[in-house]
Symmetry: C2
Subunit: 122 residues, 2 copies
């Protein structure tokens, strides 16, 4: 059994799944990955697909994904500036998980949200 210690998960047992959550579980990472998988985007194009996200958060989350080697930041030195965020080969290792999560959300997402609304009203 491997052991991991991340900032958010210093427990020494049973952490591998927590590491994965840490990589794809950020506040906007799911949606970012979903949109980038559906096609190459640049910064503002991605932002337009996520109207509730601020540029600030988009930047922060993209930098984390970049740091983890999941997206690449391709800077074109032009005016006006142009920055694209192609996915790396590494993201292929995550796609099975992302797709399963998307499918699960499709099937059970509303059910979970309903359960939460019910217990709020009690």
């Amino acid at each position: 059994m491997k052991e991991f210690k991340t900032e958010k998960c210093p427990d020494t047992t049973a952490c591998p799944d927590a590491v994965t959550v840490d990589v794809i579980g950020g506040k906007w990472k799911g949606i970012i990955l979903y949109n980038l998988i559906s096609g190459l985007k640049r910064f503002n194009g991605l932002g337009r697909l996520m109207p509730y996200t601020t540029k600030r958060m988009l930047t922060l989350q993209l930098r984390e994904l970049e740091q983890d080697g999941i997206v690449h930041r391709e800077i074109y030195r032009e005016i006006p500036p142009k920055v694209e965020y192609p996915l790396t080969a590494f993201v292929e290792t995550l796609k099975p998980i992302i797709y399963l999560m998307r499918d699960w959300g499709d099937v059970y997402g509303n059910e979970v949200i309903m359960k939460r609304k019910v217990s709020v009203n009690m």
Copy 2:
């Protein structure tokens, strides 16, 4: 394409994977599920497996999992009290994801953590 709006993800497009993150992506939920899958536990027994978690957080996270229908809270009216947290049938729908996440963490977790350490020192 279904649309979801959760508290944490009010964007109306491409949210199903974010819903899933919301269900299993809490700070300690990965480890909790991992430990509960490996066998029925009671409250303090679970806590002993996660020495960095406080009872407070354990309670909060377990209650969320309970609300989402993933774990059941079985209270035995005894003295001293005894509370067990068996998994529900619903967790079976999540197991493929959890297992994939665990496997991914086993294989790539250290790699990601290394990448982060490197860029911290720059």
